[in-house]
Symmetry: C2
Subunit: 194 residues, 2 copies
Amino acid sequence: MPVYLRGLLFASEQKRENISSQNLAELVGVNSWQIRKDFSYFGDFGIRGVGYDVNKLAAQIRKILKIAAVQKTALVGVGNIGSAVLAYSGFGKYNLDIAVAFDVAPDKIGRKIENVVIEDVASLWKLKKRKIKLGIIAVPEQAAQETADKLVKAGIKGILNFSPRYLAVPKKVKVITIDIAMYLASLPYYMPTI
Amino acid sequence: MPVYLRGLLFASEQKRENISSQNLAELVGVNSWQIRKDFSYFGDFGIRGVGYDVNKLAAQIRKILKIAAVQKTALVGVGNIGSAVLAYSGFGKYNLDIAVAFDVAPDKIGRKIENVVIEDVASLWKLKKRKIKLGIIAVPEQAAQETADKLVKAGIKGILNFSPRYLAVPKKVKVITIDIAMYLASLPYYMPTI
């Protein structure tokens, strides 16, 4: 579903009003029958011969993904990856807002990057009051588990983890790990000439 | 398969010699029957009651993934994400080696980060001679397609793309895109209390 939303947002940027399952399939790289099957679970969004209404379908998927309203997110760690996350302009179209950032380095705390003031990680527990449920871990590997523990304690329910560690979290907390090496290691399998 | 390899590498770091499909399943977050099914396609690696030999199975999966030998990789763009890639220590265990890095900024060209000398992107075409088949795109969004074109021309067959763009490449070239916003947008769906 997030992959489809990504395709629809792209089509919307290209000022397309309708898209066929065939065209969406080509864009996101899956079979068109798979798209029709996936969407049929959630009701019928398409019109034969016209295709899907891009913006309506995007709104539906946002609802399914529970990002119909803006989701505030806390970032922990403002090193290379954390800075890239703050500078990244693509969150808004998914209704995501990096609302707060934390670091341990005294020379970073209090600085403002892309309109977000970096706060002391010692005040991370205050997140609970701000009703933020999403967190991003962009700290060094050895600090990742400790950071996850703190985020969970502060009420975070979903974590995007950039450290290559497996994080131990309660079952009700969802972790998605972006392990850069693992993704890179997935490529050669698809490359015919090697 | 890359997800399983990741789990096995972790088990190996923990000095484990054997792992049951149940334990591997818990580690990587899939069902144990799925693991047994997936491995059965490639032959039988496990011994009943003992489990899988961690290092043997890892070696088998490396072979399947075509990373049994070291794969050299070219990085294009040494901004925040590119610097994080260069500083990342986790590539070696997947037999990946960031062998060369390129940028356009005169103040970066010639500098050395983590033993890799940053080269002028104008000399990217020379990659062909070095027999490098993997590339990482970590350039600003508006330069991503142009960079992909250059990489393809230089003989690159697999691209890890950090820009949120869809890249147009020939069919024989495989692209994996890490769209940070899309991954973050996937979390709320799994979070029960929102």
